[in-house]
Every structure is written in structure tokens, then in C-alpha cells.
């Protein structure tokens, strides 16, 4: 299963190849994502007394978290070196590293649900909120017990308006209504965020969405699975809609933004009832850098400018409360945490998901592959 972060890096490279962004911007953006290879090797590293390793999903270009998250921190902390590793810190990999007893990773780009799963198995450290400031994020869902989020993203309803000349869908209820809106649906092959949408289609109020009524939500999925395809990676989700395999999809806002722009608005997306999610970072238990990792995380949350830079480059929403106001006007419409957009969305309950993910996702896979 491709993670949101992996997809961001892929998207950046696509933009670069199409000439939409310069190499410099590409590197800067990747830096913000933490996807930067050890550019700063050699003598600089030799001088550093302490080193922190940030782990991301970066692929070839591993420049970005370094520049937007690492460098500001290094500027303020002489003798500390922040280096990047693009291995892809899946929950399974974090677990095997912690259990091996040689923990070289300090800060990993994970997710809310994984942070809870890992925390419950005592594989990641608690966030020290004496060091990390809860006031530096827009809501409680972005500062969890075992992780905090310097960026956000959303799972939104995206549709091909050419297929619905009499008006497109406006809610998840419409999404699940095959009579009024016929055509193949596109869902992520992952229960997280998908069942939340099904729950809203069951007209439970977004304010009291959790706990999800699993039986009903899964039944809702079963209703449409014969008329649905399921995506694993972000590029796959984009292709399904672009090539007309599906007329309506539940996809990441970053991909929806690209589709909307490149089809000149034929494919649209709506923020309404979108599932706003936190890009949670975790600290593997027994990390070599110790408490310093907490301070790096605190610095990432505290600085709005790099977060705005990341939004302009890849579309990841900032989480610092001061950031939204600094977003240039043309990017406000695609910022998931812009107050106008955030108000329409629902913050996904990462804690509930962390506690239920393993079983629920298995049930979900059983339903769609049954």
C-alpha cells in the first residue's frame, strides 16, 4: 500500500518532468518532504557532534524535509546534523528496527493510526509535550500521544462532471447512490477514511462520526463493490479517473487538484465531507538521537513558513495555526487547512483508527475481495 508521503514525492517528480517546476523548486519541495539524500556528507558531518536521522518515503530525491525541516533546526542548533533517509518507515520496518535493538532512525513520517498501533506495542516514544507545543497545531488530532503532524492532507470526493450534466454529487450519500449517479466508483484499498465516508453516507452527523458503526459501514461498501475499483497508489487513483475507468472517486486532495487543473475543471473535487488527516511523525523507541528528536519535531511544528512552502510545491496542508493566513491567494482553494475548506471537512479520528485499524482493515479487504 502506497502511503500519502510516497505519492507526494512521485507527484513532485511528475511535475518536474513536465517542466511545471524548476529543479530548484523540486529539490526545495522534496526537502520539505524530507526526501533528500545525504547531500551534506563529508566534512560537515565530521564536525557535527550529534546526528538526527529523519526517515521519509522519498525514492530517489531525498532532499526536502532536509531543507524545510532540517536546515532551520540546524541553523538554531550548532553541532546538530539532520540527515535524511528515504527507506519508507512502514510500521513493519519500524518494528523490526526497534526489535533489532539498533535504532538509527530518529523521526519517521508515519500516520495517526500507525502511531497508535506502534505506541500500543511500545515501539515508539511518547511525544514530550513539555518540548513540543500543542498550541502550534490547528487541532487536537494533530498532536497525539505518540506523534505530531507538521502537515495535513485530505481524502476528498472527486468526480467527472462530464458524466453528470444535471449536476454532480455533493456528499458521500451521493457517492454511494448508484441510482442517481450511475457509473464505476473508485475507492482506496484501505478501510481508513473509506469507512468514514460510508458512515457519513449513512447520514450520521459528521460531528459525532466516531465510533464508526462497522457492520453498517462494511455493508455499505458491499453494496457498491461490484461497481467499484480500488486503488493502491496515488498515481493509480489519478489514472482511473483520467482514463474514464471510474466516474467518481474517493482520493487524496493532491491528486484531485492535479486532475482538476489538467482537465480544465472537467474533473472536479469538493471539500465537503472530505476527511482531513494528520501527517504524523513518530520517534522509534530507543532512538540514537534521544530527546533531540523531540526538539526537531517541535521546530517543524513551530515554523509556518516552510509549511506554506510545502503546500505551494506539493499541496500538503500546513498545520501551524499561523500558516493559513500566509498562503498566497491562488493556493488557498487547494489548501486543506484553509479555514474555509477545513470547516467543510471532518478531521479523521486517528486514535479510533489506531485502535481498530488492524481488524477493521482486514474485514474491509475481506469484503472487497470476497
Amino acid at each position: 500500500m502506497q502511503s500519502f508521503q510516497q505519492d507526494c514525492v512521485e507527484l513532485a517528480h511528475e511535475k518536474f518532468r513536465r517542466g511545471e517546476v524548476s529543479r530548484r523548486t523540486l529539490l526545495a519541495g522534496l526537502a520539505a518532504l524530507g526526501a533528500a539524500p545525504a547531500l551534506e556528507a563529508g566534512d560537515a558531518r565530521a564536525q557535527a557532534q550529534r546526528q538526527l536521522v529523519m526517515v521519509n518515503w522519498g525514492g530517489i530525491a531525498n532532499d526536502g524535509f532536509g531543507r524545510f525541516y532540517g536546515e532551520p533546526f540546524m541553523a538554531e542548533n550548532a553541532g546538530v546534523r539532520v540527515v535524511q533517509d528515504s527507506t519508507g518507515p512502514s510500521a513493519g520496518r519500524i518494528r523490526s528496527m526497534v526489535e533489532s535493538g539498533r535504532v538509527t532512525w530518529d523521526l519517521c513520517d508515519s500516520s495517526a493510526s500507525s502511531s497508535v498501533v506502534l505506541g500500543r506495542q511500545n515501539l515508539v516514544s511518547r511525544i514530550d509535550y513539555n518540548i513540543v507545543n500543542r498550541e502550534h497545531v490547528i487541532g487536537p488530532g494533530f498532536a497525539l500521544e505518540y506523534g505530531a503532524a507538521p502537515y495535513s492532507f485530505s481524502s476528498v470526493l472527486c468526480y467527472d462532471s462530464a458524466k453528470f450534466p444535471n449536476g454532480g454529487p455533493t456528499s458521500w450519500a451521493d457517492f454511494f447512490d448508484l441510482q442517481r449517479f450511475p457509473g464505476t466508483r473508485l475507492l482506496r484499498r484501505d478501510a481508513l477514511a473509506t469507512l468514514d465516508a460510508a458512515q457519513m453516507a449513512l447520514s450520521k452527523s459528521p460531528q459525532n462520526l466516531y465510533p464508526l458503526d462497522l457492520r453498517a459501514c462494511l455493508a455499505k461498501i458491499r453494496e457498491i463493490r461490484r461497481n467499484a475499483v480500488f486503488w493502491n497508489s496515488g498515481s493509480e487513483s489519478e489514472q482511473f479517473l483520467r482514463t474514464g475507468e471510474a466516474v467518481m472517486g474517493h482520493i487524496w486532495h493532491t491528486r484531485a487538484t492535479v486532475l482538476q487543473r489538467e482537465t480544465n475543471g472537467r474533473i472536479k473535487f469538493i471539500w465537503n465531507q472530505g476527511l482531513l488527516q494528520a501527517g504524523i511523525f513518530v520517534i522509534p523507541r530507543g532512538n540514537a538521537g534521544g530527546e533531540l528528536a523531540q526538539r526537531l519535531l517541535a521546530s517543524m511544528l513551530a515554523k509556518p513558513e516552510p509549511q506554506v512552502g510545502l503546500l505551494q510545491f506539493l499541496g500538503n496542508g500546513p498545520t501551524n495555526p499561523a500558516a493559513a493566513a500566509r498562503v498566497p491567494a491562488e493556493f488557498k482553494a487547494v489548501n486543506p487547512t484553509d479555514p474555509a475548506n477545513a470547516a467543510q471537512q471532518v478531521v479523521l479520528n486517528g486514535v479510533w483508527w489506531g485502535e481498530n485499524y488492524q481488524q477493521v482493515n482486514q474485514d474491509y479487504l475481506d469484503i472487497i475481495t470476497g
Binding site: 500500500m1 498501533v117 506502534l118 506495542q121 482514463t243 475507468e245 488492524q358 479487504l365 475481506d366
Partner: protein, 306 residues
Amino acid sequence: MQRASARLGFRPDPVAREARRAPVGQGFRRDAGWWALILPAVLLMTVFYLAPMVQVLAISLTEPQPGLGNYERLFTSESVQRVIGTTLRICVTTTVVALLLGYVLAYKITLSTPGVRRWWVLAVLVPLWISVLVRAFAWVTLLRRQGLVNETLMAGGLITEPLPLVWNEFGIVIGMVHYMVPYAVLPMLASMGEIDPRLLSAARGLGASRLTVFRRVFLPLSRPGLIAAGVLVFIFSLGFYVTPAILGGGKTLMVAEWIKLQILDLLRWGLGAMMATMLVVAILITLAIFSRMVDLRRIFGAGGTA
């Protein structure tokens, strides 16, 4: 008289016996050097292959609690059973179709003249060199709603709605068969090449029809190749990952991907390790059964004792 000659046969004269024994003793000493050369490879296999396998087995027996809990799921969990069922169904279908196509191809190649045969073999081998990813995506391009096949059929007025050719098991089987046909052809080709063409001529000369010659002479003689190809294709299919992931539209889950999900995403290592162990066991059992039916060593190319 008979007895005497038998005794003579069983008891060679001492000189001959000595002569025979000597090379054996020397041979062992000489072989010891070769064994020493192999030793690093054996150690490497033990450390990097056998040891992790044992570890996997250990995880499957100890997580989340020590015991056979994970293996119990084979009998109690509908989800586990479904994954196994789906995998077996797809693998059997793939094997049967790949064998049918492969047999026809191998038959055609065997009976063609050497010059033509080279081109045929090349045509079979070329797909082997193309990445499995590229081939899967090529099938997507052909089979999707706005793909070549559907567009052509619709332009020809044969259908009005696109056929669901991909994002289902049908698409997966097409992709897997395409991948497997060369693996089916090659062992059968080797086995058919050993059939003496004079036997076929002789059968014809004795008045058998073409069909009878094929049914009574060619088919039985090519049976070892057929079985070997079947084993090879089936075992390969069991571990398939990429093709189902791309062509299945997310609606099919086979064992390999299921294991990956358990290990990397769901952190249920015990369950994942159990399934991995079962996969290895299934492969070993398949090999054990079929090695009784045919000489696998010969077919997989070890020791040319034909």
C-alpha cells in the same frame, strides 16, 4: 548350471573387486577438496536463507502467543480460507490454460524444421526478457474500458458497452497466463525433443490415424514434460504478486500480497509468517508428489542422465 552362473555373476573375482573399490576411496578423498569449495556456499545458504526461514517458522509459532493459534486460523478464519481459495483457483486456472497453450506451441515447435524452430523458440523467449510490470501495464492498455480491445469491438459494432476485461480475475488470469506460457513451453519442448520421430512414422506405417498417433504415442511420451511444466507453472503462480496487484483492480487478494499486508501494514507478523510457512510447505508438497511421478532433476536441467 544356472545356479553356478548366478554365483559367478554375483561374486566377481578378487582382482576386479579391488580395482573397483580403489577409485571409490580415492574418489572420496578427491571429492573432499570439492566439498571444501562448496562449503562457503553452503554456509552462505544456511546463514542467509535457512536461518531466516527458521526464524519465520518461529515467529509463526510464537506470535502473538506461543502455540498453534495462527495455524488454527487455517481452519477457523473465513478470511484466511478465502485467500487460499482464491489463490488456488487462480493458480489452477492459470496452470491449465498455460499448459494448453504451451502444449500446442511446443508441439508445433517440435514438429517444425530446425530453421523455423529457432524463430519459434526466440518468439517464446522474448516475452521472458520483458519486465513483468511492463507486461501487466501493457495488458491494462489493451483491456481497459477505453482500451484497444474494447474500442475496436465497439467501433466494429459488436458490442455497445465496454466488456469488463480487466480489474477482475479474468484480467489477472490473462496477465498470469501470458507470463507463464514460456515456462510451460520450455520443459515440454525439452521433453518432446527426446521423442524419437521414427516412432511416429512407425505408428503411421502400422495404420494408425494422425489422431491415434498423437493420442497413443506422442501424448504419453510427452507426459513427463507436461507434468514438469505443470509443476513449474503452478509453483510460480502461487507466489504471484505484481500481476494480480495491477490487473485485479484491488478486488482480488492472493497469498503473496496478503502476507505483505500482514507484515508491513497490519503488523500481524505471526499470521503473515504462518501463511509464508504454509506457502513453502505447499510448494514442497507439490514438488514431493510430482517428483514421484517424473524425474524432476532431469527436467529442471540437473545431470543429463538421459
